[in-house]
């Protein structure tokens, strides 16, 4: 087995005539913390949508851990091991925090239980429910959300909603976690905490993480390598420090 977790080959998509992304080649090593940055409208979220099957690429391919996933639907891709969070938080607002995480655990083979078993409450149902709840609580503990586990997701403060979204994505037991602006709307202290948490799950779960972020402190602080997008194309890639000092990149952000 190679040590490449995600590999995209000339990935691209066009909407009508608009080339939202083209010829994107990214290679992410296993257990790496990788950043995807670029000015607004550069096509970062589009890349996430391609990788999670929300959009089908019109060009190119991508591989997860050597397996081609191009063209698969969202559910299948998630089960193959890519989980994500959303730029505009998408929690299950009318469900409690713990249940949000339990939805993430739904496809875990340990918690298999068909609808018939549940409908008639056979012993396996109780066993599975209990085990799921325990696992969900463990995950919530990592994010410090244990005490809020029974409040509704929509009643959480903003920063905690972001954390819950990560916990929920983690619950699907992914190989690759995509974080879409995890620090958006957080204050510096919350961002600091978030960086610690991301580092922690990266180590603890042997997880590869690809994140989109505008907060350069966060990017510079935790990402090992970066790809910079501009107008749907790769502008630069490489080690974080080099990329951030690349004059091309600075120009793209600040303008001429």
């Amino acid at each position: 087995m190679s040590d490449i977790m995600l590999k995209t080959e000339n990935l691209g998509i066009t909407f009508g005539g608009l080339k939202a992304a083209q010829d994107v080649n990214i290679e992410i090593k296993k257990k790496q913390l990788y950043g995807l940055i670029g000015p607004n409208g550069a096509g970062k979220t589009t890349i996430f949508n391609l990788l999670t099957g929300v959009y089908k690429p019109t060009a190119g391919k991508f591989y997860l851990d050597g397996e081609e996933l191009t063209g698969k639907n969202q559910e299948a891709i998630n089960r193959k091991g890519i989980a994500r969070t959303f730029q505009n938080i998408r929690l299950f607002n009318n469900m409690t925090v713990v249940r949000n995480v339990m939805v993430g655990l739904h496809n875990n083979p340990e918690f298999k239980c068909n609808p018939f078993v549940s409908a008639f409450r056979l012993p396996r149902h109780f066993k599975v429910e209990k085990a799921m709840r325990e696992r969900a609580k463990e995950l919530l503990r990592i994010f410090g959300l244990e005490d809020e586990r029974n409040s509704l997701a929509c009643n959480l403060p903003y920063g905690k909603q972001r954390k819950l979204e990560i916990a929920r994505a983690l619950a699907t037991n992914p190989k690759l976690l995509l974080l879409d602006e995890p620090a958006a709307g957080m204050n510096p202290q919350e961002t600091e905490e978030l960086m610690d948490t991301i580092r922690f799950i990266n180590k603890e779960f042997d997880l590869t993480i690809l994140l989109i972020e505008h907060d350069m402190k966060l990017v510079g602080g935790i990402c090992e390598e970066l790809t910079v997008l501009n107008f749907g194309k790769v502008l630069a890639e490489g080690e974080t420090k080099e990329v951030l000092n690349n004059p091309e990149v600075i120009k793209a952000y600040i303008g001429d």
Binding site: F15, T45, N49, V54, N88
Partner: protein, 288 residues
């Protein structure tokens, strides 16, 4: 040929109703389920005024005024409080309004069909009638076309019209540009309801009886027409309405007549599944 003319004339009734659906949908982003029942109210208004004044002109004017006021009233009382609430809630309320109007008509006028009265009659026009085309069909067709042209001109050539287009395009941006969205929505409901009154009038030319459920079937059929044409699209509603009228008349003239309802609705389901945006609608993606 006669079936075609009949179909076109029925189609222009559908088109008028479908215009109401499509305009309201485009601007208020809601399915006004009660739209069909406005037609019914218009028909009763004609019947009552006719009984009182014996003047068809007065009856038509009364129907238009009453329907317009009713349309605005319904919007203010039932739909406006729900602006920003879930679309499902709005739809259920609209169903409630539809039920309310039907129940009220039944309570006041009884559930049996009532004749409009003998004053409601179009003069015979020899030149057309000798071809086998009824005056009603001809008048409906001609008036329908005139009304649709007038509406198109109104929307494309007046300030209010362009404000309506702006609101349907992007409500947020329209607000920022200083468009009074509440006013525009009220105007939309008013126009839609006035069109429904016209539809009620033409309907009575064809079948001179009123009943509380008169509007339900044409209403749903016209909604189908609006969807077929692409909901939110004004030319689409016209094309869809005419198309559906022709199809219906040809179905009724064929051995498949008992299945006309099934055919109409199957068409609706088919179009929604294959091309949910209709013939002339445009694609909008959901943001992720």
């Amino acid at each position: 040929m006669i079936t075609l003319i009949d179909g076109l004339s029925l189609g222009s009734i559908y088109a008028l109703i479908a215009l109401g659906y499509t305009m309201v949908y485009g601007i208020a982003k809601m399915l006004n389920f009660a739209h069909g029942d406005i037609i019914m109210v218009g028909a009763y208004a004609i019947m009552v005024t006719l009984a009182a004044t014996v003047s068809p002109i007065a009856a038509i004017v009364a129907a238009i005024v009453i329907c317009t006021i009713l349309g605005i009233l319904v919007e203010k009382l039932a739909y406006k409080p729900l602006r920003g609430a879930s679309p499902l809630a709005v739809l259920i309320t609209a169903i409630g309004v539809s039920y309310f109007l039907q129940g009220l008509a039944q309570l006041v006028f009884g559930s049996q069909p009532k004749p409009v009265g003998s004053a409601w009659k179009l003069p015979a026009i020899e030149a057309i009638n000798s071809l086998g085309i009824t005056t009603a069909a001809a008048v409906t067709l001609v008036c329908g076309i005139i009304i649709m042209i007038a509406l198109t001109l109104f929307i494309n050539c007046t300030r209010t019209g362009s404000a309506m287009l702006a609101v349907s395009e992007d409500r947020g941006a329209a607000i920022l540009m200083g468009v009074n969205v509440n006013k525009i929505i009220s105007i939309t409901f008013a126009i839609g309801s006035a069109l429904a009154a016209f539809a009620g009038m033409f309907y009575l030319f064809q079948i001179p009886n009123t009943e509380p459920t008169l509007g339900a079937m044409p209403g749903i059929t016209a909604f189908t027409a609006a969807v077929i044409g692409g909901i939110g699209s004004i030319p689409g509603a016209m094309v869809g309405g005419v198309l559906l009228g022709v199809i219906e008349k040809f179905c009724l003239a064929s051995p498949l007549a008992p299945y006309t309802v099934a055919i109409k609705f199957s068409l609706l389901i088919l179009i929604l599944l294959v091309k949910p945006t209709g013939l002339l609608g445009k694609v909008v993606r959901e943001k992720v």
